[in-house]
């Protein structure tokens, strides 16, 4: 396996989010201070510099299969941009707090405090959903079904995209930090404050709780097959086998770092897992192999985000000092 530096870019502040355009041509990188840079995947040329949000940008989401980009920020707004031209196309004011979570599926789901809105691609409000008792802390669209999972301290709501109707509410009596669906939509998983990982199979009324973490679990990732669930929450990336009846009673694989894990990402079409720790170490793993560690890269700055390009050929890394690195990854 060969991992080489492809290009690097620089933001004016902490790289708070990274998102590849669905065609793989652009990498959008948001600075915590506000501006969003659109880099050309091929050579790192800065195609466009979007102003983003006053007082800071929090999250990015591309339209599935398209070239429209949404951003959420500290100004309580979701802004829409044309990725090809860099033009600002629409703004949706969704609340007075921070838009911290954004997910683009059948609609653009935007969480702002206790409010959750479903927006159209032109920024129009489709559904203003009932307020949650506490601030929304994570959003995830269900693959292969028009359903949105939205978590807050106290539980997860499963919402119908078309009508905005609440299909189900899964109570969870603690803070939730992250949500992820397995690719076939079978498992819904939350990473929790308590610290633990909670798994539901919504269609089978089954739930599991996996605990024993060092710290709250803020990072979750499923591999393309839905078998491996990678979780943060300490110095190890802890990988559970979710095949068949799920992880209960199975020992997880522990992929060790020397510092707390701060980002995780599985490839889209292949099986590599990238993990990053706050000491700057980035590692690649193959959970299926006997010797899972495939590569180690050391960054001089604390990493903030990891994102695989849609074709898995490039791995983008963001840093606390605003650097954006793109590594070329050749499987071999």
């Amino acid at each position: 396996m060969n991992l080489t530096k492809h290009w690097a870019g620089q933001l004016d502040d902490y790289a708070i989010d990274l998102a590849w355009s669905p065609d793989g041509a652009l990498l959008a990188a948001a600075s915590a201070a506000g501006p969003v840079a659109l880099f050309a995947a091929a050579d790192g040329a800065r195609r466009h510099e979007l102003p983003g949000h006053e007082n800071g940008t929090n999250a990015l989401a591309w339209a599935p299969g398209g070239r429209a980009l949404a951003s959420g920020g500290q100004d309580g707004a979701v802004r829409f941009w044309d990725g090809a031209t860099g033009q600002h196309t629409a703004t949706a004011a969704v609340g007075s707090g921070w838009v911290e979570h954004l997910a683009w599926g059948p609609a653009v789901a935007a969480a702002c405090g206790r409010r959750l809105s479903l927006l159209g691609p032109d920024g129009t409000l489709r559904q203003a959903l009932p307020e949650a008792p506490k601030t929304f802390a994570a959003l995830a669209w269900r693959p292969n079904a028009p359903q949105l999972a939205a978590a807050f301290f106290g539980g997860v709501r499963l919402i119908d995209a078309g009508t905005g109707a609440l299909r189900k509410e899964f109570p969870y009596n603690n803070g939730i930090q992250a949500l992820v669906w397995s690719p076939e939509g079978r498992w819904l998983v939350s990473g929790n404050q308590d610290p633990s990982v909670h798994l539901w199979i919504p269609d089978e009324e089954l739930e599991l709780q996996m605990s024993g973490y060092e710290t709250k679990v803020k990072h979750l990732a499923f591999d393309r097959t839905g078998r491996w669930l990678a979780t943060g929450g300490g110095r190890d990336a802890c990988v559970w086998d979710c095949s068949g009846p799920g992880p209960e009673g199975r020992a997880p694989a522990m992929f060790p770092h020397d510092a707390p894990v701060c980002a995780l990402a599985f490839q889209h079409r292949h099986g590599l897992l990238a993990t990053a720790a706050s000491d700057g170490t980035v590692m690649l793993w193959s959970p299926d192999r006997r010797q899972p560690l495939r590569a180690t890269v050391k960054m001089t700055q604390p990493p903030t985000k990891l994102a695989w390009s849609p074709d898995d050929g490039q791995l983008a890394l963001g840093s606390a000092q605003g650097a954006v690195y793109v590594l070329r990854c050749e499987n071999g």
Binding site: D12, D13, Y14, I16, A32, A33, G56, N58, G97, W98, E100, G113, K134, T135, A137, F153, N174, G175, Q193, D194, E214, T215, K216, T304, A320, Q321, G322
Partner: protein, 477 residues
């Protein structure tokens, strides 16, 4: 780690005045202020965030285990910056219990790693605080939780009333630093980054409050020349070296002799050289000056708990470690005292009422510094403070067990707990702090070359000093 200041106080006490002062003064710090939702502060240059209080009840709605979810979120976001902030200021609503704010910094690993709860600053309206204190719990709590108290609006109250007020506050919280202010005018280094939470300046604590239950009641430090002197006990001698009317006014209203009336335990310990200025300050009894005799106090503690050497009248003695048990005849006794080296000597007396003199060439000498160890605490406020200060090494397991048990059984009543502990086998100080049932402990820096003094402070309801002290001592190795 970024210092966090929590600002509490009743509505109208002057919190907003203080906030505006902090935000507008040129102090060169880049701060973020998290104000409550009704905040009225707005200043360029500094970061002002309006938060809406959101409680995360971790354990069936128990306030002692609740944290502020909004703070975890906002403070988490504030870490996502290229340049770190110099400080965070959190304003709480007038009626808010500050516990969940403090607890947020103990339970969340991310918060713990990035932030340091520096101090809880409580602004008190000198004009109205008594009414508040009499009326209820919340203002008592705000005072109990405080590391720094601004006694504000002093212009509206007479100085004598202020003294009284301060006394009342002290009874609730013996360790907070109290500043008297008008319009919250206070140098900002008394409010920001003061290290209030970690007992960094334990020596500034009121020594009376910190006193353990010493097995001795009085000590005097004498400057003695080399030679043959005499230690004289009893009413037959000249006037008493200490006691009422001596200017140190700690009269013993209730005298209970410890043990046998015809025995007196003493320890005479040499004192390391003390800086002249220090000695002068001590003679003036300047408040807040640390006792330079802590070493001797600790040695005396050891001596008084060890085996004694019995001396009958006329038996000679010398300064040195160990306990001397003077056998008296009808309350009197004379004991030749040989001093080989001129210097300062600390004489500890088991019973402070026993007349005691040191005669040099037949003339009684006065101690240059003296102190009573006998004191009582009034309990007219249900909330009070207990301090323990003692040398020795603590067994980490026993300590853990004790604190765990204490928090389980008394956590609801314990508003604040802080300590600097000498743990067996560790060269670093173990610094801990707690609020209700949650606490945080970490090793910080190495102990200095001096004696390793354990300090523990408890503020809360229904505190039993004797029980806490005993439990602490049971953890010593």
């Amino acid at each position: 780690m970024i210092p966090v200041t929590v600002l509490t106080g009743f509505l109208g006490a002057g919190k907003t005045t203080l906030l505006n002062r902090i935000l507008t003064e040129q102090h060169g710090r880049k701060l973020a202020v998290i104000e409550n939702e009704f905040g009225e502060v707005g200043v360029d240059n500094q970061l002002v965030i309006s938060g809406e209080e959101e409680l995360f009840e971790m354990n069936n709605g128990c306030i002692c285990c609740s944290v502020r979810g909004d703070l975890i979120r906002i403070l988490g976001r504030l870490l996502k910056r290229k340049d770190k902030l110099d400080g965070i200021l959190i304003e709480t609503t007038g009626l808010a219990n500050p516990a969940p704010v403090a607890q947020t910094f103990f339970t969340d690993e991310e918060m713990r790693a990035a932030y340091r709860l520096d101090a809880i600053v409580t602004v008190v309206d000198a004009k109205h605080v008594l009414t508040h204190l009499d009326a209820g719990d919340e203002s008592v709590k705000q005072i109990a939780f405080a590391d720094v108290i601004l006694l504000n609006k002093t212009d509206l109250v007479k100085p004598a009333e202020l003294d009284e007020l301060e006394e009342r506050i002290r009874r609730i919280n013996a360790v907070a630093r109290i500043h008297r202010t008008r319009d919250c005018a206070v140098p900002l280094d008394r409010v920001l980054d003061v290290g209030g939470f970690n007992l960094e300046r334990a020596a500034e604590l009121d020594p009376k409050f910190l006193e353990p239950e010493y097995p001795f009641e009085w000590a005097g430090v004498y400057s003695l020349p080399a030679g043959d002197h005499e230690l004289v006990i009893g009413h037959d001698g000249a006037e008493h070296d200490h006691g009422p009317g001596e200017g140190h006014g700690h009269a013993h209203r209730h005298h209970h002799h410890r043990g046998n009336e015809n025995e007196l335990d003493v320890a005479l310990l040499p004192v390391r050289p003390v800086a002249q200025t220090h000695m002068a300050a001590l003679e003036k009894d300047e408040p807040g000056f640390p006792s330079p005799f802590a070493v001797q106090e600790a040695e005396a503690l050891t001596a008084f708990s060890g085996p004694e050497m019995k001396l009958g009248p006329g038996d000679p003695c010398r300064p040195g470690p160990g306990l001397l048990r003077l056998l008296l005849e009808r309350g009197n006794g004379r004991y030749p005292l040989r001093v080989d080296e001129a210097g300062l000597y600390a004489l500890f007396e088991g019973c402070g009422e026993e007349p005691l003199h040191v005669l040099v060439r037949g003339e009684p000498v006065k101690p240059g510094w003296q102190r009573d160890y006998h004191h009582s605490h009034s309990h007219d406020d249900a909330v009070s403070s207990v301090g323990i200060q003692q040398t020795g090494r603590l067994d980490p397991q026993k300590l853990n067990q004790w604190i765990g048990e204490l928090l389980r059984t008394q956590g609801g009543d314990l508003y604040r707990m802080k300590g600097v502990i000498n743990v067996k086998g560790k060269d670093q100080r173990l610094v801990f702090q707690g609020v209700h049932m949650l606490f945080d402990a970490r090793f910080d820096r190495d102990w200095g070359p001096g004696p390793r003094m354990n300090t523990m402070v408890f503020i809360g309801k229904n505190l039993d000093r004797a029980q806490l002290t005993e439990a602490f001592q049971a953890c010593l190795t």
